[in-house]
Amino acid sequence: MSDEEIQVFIDGVVRYFQRTTGEPAEVDPPYLKGEDSVTLDFTGVIGISGRHRGAVYFTSCAEQLTELLHRFGETAIGFADHEDLVGEVANTIAGNARQYFGSEFLISVPVVLCGQPDRISFPLCLKNFVIPFTWRSYRSYLIICLDLQP
């Protein structure tokens, strides 16, 4: 992935929090994922196909998702709401990327994973870029595994 392509996803993260809460997320420099675990309580996964192949992962702690849901006006918040929102954030950021990549950047519906970070295996054949960010002191990660179709 080029710097310009990574920037598309950084912009997506900043825009999501700015537009939905009025407070932008603070993004730290992206890095190549190593052996370290970057999965938190809930992870939304969007599969990418078409001209590209790969996946976009958004992973967040329950507290951040609860805070976001409060901002949206939710009051009775449960496990299912966390699952729903983490998938929706992943979907929104991946979908927004079509403005740059075009309509052949096909996105799947979200798959949501809860906890059990050891079970999440990232594609080894692709470079996995981690975009760490903070919103209201909560740390989250966007992980991008993307390549052109061979």
Binding site: R15, R19, T20, N91, G95, N96, Q99, S103, V109
Partner: protein, 134 residues
Amino acid sequence: MGARTVLETSGRLLIVDDSSTVRRSIERHIYSERVTKIYQAANGREAMELFERYRPELVTMDLTMPEMDGLTCISRMMALKPDTRLMVISALGDAETAIEAVERGANEYVVKPFSAEDLNLALANLIAEASGPR
């Protein structure tokens, strides 16, 4: 009367989105007294079932959904009831998709993430279009 003022007699709204958070968020932003009844669907198949049963005047439509995608849904709804006022609310930010949605019959296209102001303005436009001269 009749077709000129669709919402004067009835204001049914169908909200279609696979995210329950988004559906509730849209519902909270519906302030119009003209919207008298709101239905919700989590995928295209459910949406078509509710659409055929209740024939809503207004629809908000997600595009990326399980079972039946939003673009297919728009075409089927417009074939059944061409005067439906429909607003796409989708994360898909590319121009090609927006153009295709409009060609299939969408009246408004809002790209997620939306602010409360974005949504209020778009919904007001949709309701005004539905109430105005046809």
